[in-house]
Symmetry: D2
Subunit: 138 residues, 4 copies
């Protein structure tokens, strides 16, 4: 069980969206890790010039994922005015970065792995936004 | 002249909103610094319990400001789908954090300084969003 | 398989210490996550005052782990002059934070989980330092 | 007056090394900002391949400076076992990054600015280590 899930279990398991939250935090941390490593792999590529767009998106994606994971890991003071746009930024950057990495997936295995991490994170953030919206309506 | 401004001058000064951008980056870095230090000062307070809301907002505010400063410091691949919600999250968290710090300003000088950093950052991010909107319309 | 491991497999698996490296990166990311969540749980505790030392160490530990994970995730330009003191700082802060969390483990399940994450990270960083030392000698 | 200095003045001015500390925090934040922007400028360069070493060092330097600034901005629980190796890592990465940026200074104004930020940060961290050592002896 991930540490995000273990920690939430100990003190915030009552949150209606606790499982969507733990999944999103894990996906964001995974995605940040994949993007940081992908940047390093891209920089070692023979044709760096072709990877510049990928590097830039990976840098942005890692930063947004890390910050969003940190803020959503403090659920006891969850404020949708902050968390919602942050999650939307995370969805947007993961979509863009996943798309770019996808274009290199055939020739660069590290971009294939990173594209997958971006797609999962995009989906996990969408799921968390949907869970939060359901909770607001009820 | 700040390093954000110096750096933008060397390679991205043509950007229509270069001066709003440099001002926002400086304000975000200043606000992150003030929030990190304010957290430490709050934790040293005799009545920590009364400062819990302030600490939580300062932690979120520092994380969002740092990430937004990093992303906007890579202007050559500026993407409004990412930057706009990120700046909106930054405006929201600076407003909330500034408001909370304000309530402690009379008794806690460190919260007064932090409230000011939050207000300036909120305004600088609003100005950058407005500059970006003007640029999109023209 | 973790993303750190998957990514290293795609482009840096030849590194003599690739498996110690992947384990350390995973442990640092896990520890950062546990410390960020533990801070939030501590702040929600009825007796925050008793948790101040724990909060402070968790904040430092999360920051050092995150930075060390980022730097070691760029192995193609590994420089021991930077990585070694960074890993030593990580060992030190994980030891201190794990010790402090341990003292609350009986009464605070979240501190018990965090203590475990700190201990594992301390050990994983020691293992990576030992692997790097072996590699230097050979 | 910087926010680091203002904040320290409000609650930690008695620290023997308060002015060395504020100067180091400012220099680390400046250096992180310069390195992040320099990475973006390097990625926009026509000959990215020639800038790969510079980009990698700037990424490491920004991460180490940011973490060290955060940890030293919590002076009330200053622990030399953590802060000293962290500052040593900061000195090392600023020296390496400043040296690399220096080699591009004539042709790349952004590297000249970044080299200067690295040199100042290296010196400010050395000064803080020296101030801490003096304090320990007295």
């Amino acid at each position: 069980m991930s540490y995000a899930k273990q920690m939430l279990n100990t003190y915030a398991a009552r949150a209606a969206d606790a499982s969507a939250l733990a999944a999103a935090i894990d996906a964001m941390n995974d995605c940040a890790q994949a993007c940081i490593a992908d940047t390093d792999a891209d920089l070692g590529d023979e044709s760096v010039t072709a990877m510049v767009a990928c590097i830039r998106l990976c840098l942005d994606c890692a930063d947004v994922c890390t910050a969003t994971a940190r803020v959503t890991s403090r659920p006891t003071a969850y404020n949708p005015r902050v968390a919602q746009p942050l999650l939307e930024a995370c969805v947007a950057v993961c979509a863009l970065c996943g798309e770019e990495c996808e274009t290199h997936a055939d020739t660069h295995p590290h971009c294939r792995v990173c594209a997958e991490a971006c797609r999962r994170c995009e989906q996990a953030c969408r799921d968390l936004l949907a869970a939060a919206a359901r909770q607001n309506r009820s």
